[in-house]
Symmetry: C2
Subunit: 196 residues, 2 copies
């Protein structure tokens, strides 16, 4: 049974105490002691990345009406080469769209004459605060910038008609990248730029 | 320019050293010293969740041909009530589909007569190993199980025609949940169970 719509936002839990319980070069774990509005108390942990103070960006870059750019890079989390969208951290003072074009040039060797912000996605809001900005890049041209990658990424492409199959490819697993590709497809379909 | 297809998988970096550099009740950060096949050396960090040894599951539960269940819960990572799909950890010895139905009963108050595994999604493979199993649940019936939630979740629904708008709702941000909804819509469309 669906819940009745509530007239106001729910009352958030009170944070009784918060402290840093673990820290490394890149990460920091904060413990939160919470009291929910019904009186129940819980201890949560949440994770912050130290290097993401200015946010991050992920790019759906269209090579033509049907195909988006994918890049393959070594992923430390899974110890495997994985396919995903070009992405990276926004630098201090850098605009979201400028960061998107820089990352696209560094990782895939393309600039874009058209860049637009689609939405913001979170990773796992239950215990992480990280957000990523999704940018659609069209009208591409070849231009490479030197980035901080340890080795060149392999550049590949995906037809937007094949997103269901892409989700079955064990080399492509990143949920937010799949979401970004679907969002771009929806928008391009709505505009008549992509025919499903 | 797209890279030529390589005849073999790329040679993964050699892990020269690995050690735990930070640990908390729920998380553990591991440092990896890597040497890439071109000789470049880098130090990466990756994050492991201690409580996810048996994996996790996320459920797209269809109330009818058009609407999927959403739940609203307090999220420690963002300190906000967020809408997402029902989800949770798989318990030791528990089957993926059984875990999906249990979480659906605990969080949303529905059982399902049909459950099927759609795919596996990762969070952020660059520095996390976490994966989540996506399950489609159909033919629902009302049944509530008591879970470990600190307070009842508000249960809501989304029309699969409105996923682009959902992505613009600041209360719904989780990338992998959006990907799961799109995947379910693609599959149901292919089967003729959903008309776009």
């Amino acid at each position: 049974m669906l819940s009745p719509r509530e007239p106001f936002m729910r009352q958030k839990p009170t944070i009784l105490d918060r402290r840093i319980v673990a820290t490394s070069r890149l990460f920091c774990v904060e413990e939160l002691k919470l009291r929910f509005s019904n009186g129940v108390e819980r201890t949560y942990e949440r994770l912050a990345s130290k290097g993401t103070g200015y946010g991050a960006v992920m790019i759906v870059a269209m090579l033509d009406a049907d195909h988006a750019v994918l890049v393959e890079e070594y992923c430390g989390g899974t110890d495997a080469y994985e396919l995903s969208l070009p992405k990276g951290l926004i630098e201090p003072g850098e605009d979201v769209l400028a960061a998107a074009e820089r990352e696209l040039k560094e990782e895939a060797g393309f600039g874009a004459r058209q860049l637009e912000h689609l939405t913001e996605l979170s990773l796992s809001p239950g215990y992480m605060s990280q957000k990523i900005q999704v940018v659609l890049a069209t009208d591409l041209y070849e231009e490479r910038l030197e980035g901080d990658e340890p080795e060149p990424m392999r550049v590949d492409r995906i037809n937007l008609r094949e997103l269901s199959s892409l989700a079955q490819n064990p080399q492509f697993t990143e949920g937010r990248a799949l979401a970004a590709l679907y969002l771009a497809r929806d928008l391009l379909t709505l505009r008549g730029a992509f025919l499903a």
